[in-house]
Amino acid sequence: MRDADFFRRWLDAAAAAVEREADRLTELDSPIGDADHGSNLLRGFVAVRAALAGADASAPPGALLQLAGRTLISTVGGASGPLYGTLLRRTGKELGEAAEVSDEQVREALDAGVDAVARLGGAAPGDKTMLDALVPGVAALATSYADAADAADAGAVATTPMLARKGRASYLGERSIGHQDPGATSSALLLRALADAAGGAA
């Protein structure tokens, strides 16, 4: 079973990954975007850290994720703010009030979260967006957290040859081919952070 501390460790590891990789994410967002993805997420996860630090010590997993999601929505802006915010809020809502949740519940909740992202943004796998990492990543949760991280990584890498159909990269048409999607890359970081949290607890 996974308690609130597990989710705090996840979000903490995610924040650390974003801090570490912010410049690279912004760099990826330059040729096919507007060079802000790293600074967007950095602003958001710094705020998430602060929000979690201020949250009730007894807050259950679902409440923590919803708080993190609301914080991203209120601080990130851009496309990724509402999308990642929705991912965490929806996942949190699915987890409800329980103090501890099973890995199966985590998987189902994340599945619902990813669904909400797809509905909000109108994108599908293959469109060269964060969904190309999130969808295979969350699917692989069925085997293990480590597999999920690996699948998300592979999904992110696989966006390189894709032609973008959503987000700013789509404005480039054919010229979007040959660049890895920044959002898929940050999604892979999030799932790697989840695996780290799970690994540390194992």
């Binding site: 330059s30 040729p31 507007d34 060079a35 929505i73 802006g77 509402p82 159909r165 048409g173």
Partner: protein, 334 residues
């Protein structure tokens, strides 16, 4: 990094402090990132709220005031604002007549404004939204993010703002805004990339002697790179693309409002020279230019280049265009 800034993190807050100092007639909320017309709630007008990433100045903050926007929500550089800003702005300008959100069509802007609209409606406000998507360089389809909002935004904000100032009700202001958007088309070119404070180096590499055709206003490269063209050739290409698209939805010889817009680093001397070529092409094609505007209005930080926007204008749009406006960046009639 050749920037007149303190730190990359404070660029937007610093600019808002400067707007507050320069324009005592505006309510500038630096903390909450809002520029609000001081008398926004007086007169029982429909509120007009826009916003978007910073770096396109004077859009949108420079267009807040009499006859144009009631409030603007500046996001971080090239990053759409967060829903909290639009929600607060809506609350600050609503006088019971409802609020129109003018949203440039970018995924981020659309999603954040949408969230704000839902929250505002939860609060009991009437909110309409108009999506600006005037950029013909981008293929429009159900399966893409669709066309970007660029120079046409100025026309939408000015003309809808004039309607709101006259006391038109929300549905009428929204309908006019949509009509202006549907009548507006833009095409942009870049002679250099721009540099965001966060990245500190140009967003793409453009060798001397080449240009990008079909750029947006966020430092993204265009659809196509070509060998440098003359001002005349660029005008022919850009006006041609705009007119071709515009002709799909109305008469090809209707009078237009013409905006020749600088991307930030192109001297006004060159923009006027370019406008001469735009006017020449329009004359050759039998399109009367009813009004012209030449300058930096919807920019992309320090990018060199320009865009041309044409808006097919009937007598009513022209009348609203000519109506008095009093903002930091656009002013006439009072």
């Amino acid at each position: 990094m050749r920037m007149l800034i303190n730190t990359a993190d404070t660029v937007v807050a610093d600019a808002l402090r400067g707007m507050a100092a320069a324009h005592p007639d505006l309510d500038v909320d630096v903390e909450n990132r809002l520029v609000v017309r001081r008398d926004a709630r007086e007169g029982g007008r429909v509120g007009l709220v826009s916003g978007g990433g910073s770096g396109h100045e004077p859009l949108h903050g420079g267009f807040v005031g009499y006859g144009m926007l009631s409030a603007a929500c500046p996001g971080e550089v090239f990053t759409s604002p967060v829903p909290d800003q639009m929600l607060r702005a809506a609350g600050a300008v609503d006088s019971g007549q409802g609020v129109l959100f003018v949203v440039k069509n970018y995924t981020g802007d659309v999603l954040n404004f949408q969230m704000a609209a839902e929250l505002a409606e939860d609060d009991g406000l009437r909110v309409e939204q108009v999506l600006v998507n005037d950029d013909v360089a981008v293929t429009d389809s159900l399966y893409t993010a669709g066309r970007r909002g660029t120079g046409g935004t100025l026309f939408v904000e000015k003309i809808a703002g004039a309607a709101a100032e006259e006391g038109a009700p929300l549905d009428r202001v929204a309908a006019i805004a949509r009509q202006v958007n549907e009548s507006s088309r833009s095409f942009g070119v870049a002679l250099s990339a721009c540099t965001t404070p966060a990245k500190g180096s140009p967003t793409f590499d453009l060798p001397d002697g080449e240009l990008e055709l079909g750029i947006g206003i966020h430092g993204e490269p265009g659809r196509e790179r070509r060998a440098m063209m003359t001002s005349r050739e660029i005008a022919e290409f850009a006006v041609g693309a705009v007119l071709e698209d515009l002709a799909r939805s109305g008469p090809a010889d209707a009078p237009v409002l013409a905006l020749v817009n600088g991307m930030g680093a192109t001297p006004l001397l060159e923009l006027y020279g370019f406008h001469a070529e735009v006017a020449r092409v329009l004359e050759a094609r039998g399109v009367p230019v009813a009004r012209s505007l030449v300058g930096n209005y919807v920019t992309s930080l320090d990018m060199a280049g320009c865009s041309v926007t044409l808006c097919r204008a009937d007598d009513e749009l022209l009348r609203l265009w000519d109506a008095p406006v009093q903002t930091a960046a656009l002013r006439w009639g009072r």
